[in-house]
């Protein structure tokens, strides 16, 4: 990325606003946070996908047993 990352800091007591370039450490922390978030989101997404897949599979098995769609849906809600 070529743009300079900055932060605007507003002191609510004095009203003074400063625009401060992010330090190398802050940028590194930010990137680490983003990576940690992405890893956690991948885990969450996988869990959601697995839950949806299990629900669909269960629904299909209930329908195969002869339940109506409304009955099966009521059970897997």
């Amino acid at each position: 990325m070529s743009e300079t990352l900055t932060k605007i800091v507003v002191n609510c007591e004095t009203g003074v606003q400063e625009i401060i370039p992010l330090t190398v450490e802050e940028i590194a922390q930010r990137e680490a946070d983003a990576a940690a978030y992405a890893a956690q989101k991948a885990i969450d997404d996988a869990a959601q996908a697995a839950a949806a897949e299990a629900k669909a599979s269960g629904l299909a098995k209930l329908l195969a047993l002869g339940l109506t769609e409304a009955e099966a849906n009521a059970l897997v809600k």
Binding site: E3, T6, K7, I8, C12, E13, T14, L22, D44
Partner: protein
């Protein structure tokens, strides 16, 4: 019922953009806080996110429950021991309709108390497309200190004319 609604401070992002907006030295004299955001990200591709931290605290102090929609799917999820309260994929960026901004309202009741702090967040993106995100988030900050700083962190830079307004609400 709130009896006063006072602008504490506001920010309008300038021409260079800014990745972070931070309110510091927040007076402890109000009952509740409210932040109104209008932001757009400089991100050129993919999605843009927005995170909120309180008192400069990262780590595992946060929990949240979210309800989100993107125009075709509705998803609810929750996170515990989480590093922040967030609104994911919600910020309009270069892939969105030009000159559109996302709008958020963040309400923090009893922010100066020694109890854990709750956050109520709603966020809507704007896009002339079938895909645009909305979020309703219930956040928890597990910390006994009064809130003295609020940091709003986006993916890449918030673009020029993005704004953040911090209000103090007093019930007496």
């Amino acid at each position: 019922m709130a009896t006063t609604f006072t602008l504490i401070s506001s920010v309008t992002v300038g021409g260079g953009g800014s990745a972070v907006i931070e309110f510091t030295s927040i007076p402890q004299t109000y009952t509740d806080l409210q932040i109104l955001l209008s932001v757009r990200s400089s991100t050129a591709a993919g999605n843009s996110n927005c995170f909120i931290y309180l008192n400069g605290t990262f780590g595992t102090s946060y929990a949240q429950q979210r309800l989100s929609g993107d125009g075709s799917n509705v998803v609810s999820d929750s996170q515990t021991s989480y590093p922040w309260v967030d609104m994911i994929n919600a910020i309009p960026n270069a892939t969105y309709t030009a000159n559109t901004f996302g709008s958020a309202q963040i309400y923090i009741p009893n922010y100066a108390s020694s109890n854990n702090k709750s956050l109520s967040v709603d966020f809507v993106g704007e896009n002339n497309s079938t895909t645009s995100y909305i979020y309703i988030t219930a956040g928890l900050f597990q910390n006994s200190s009064g809130i003295t700083s609020i940091t709003i962190d986006g993916t890449d830079n918030f673009v020029q004319y993005s704004t953040a307004y911090l209000y103090g609400i007093s019930n007496a």
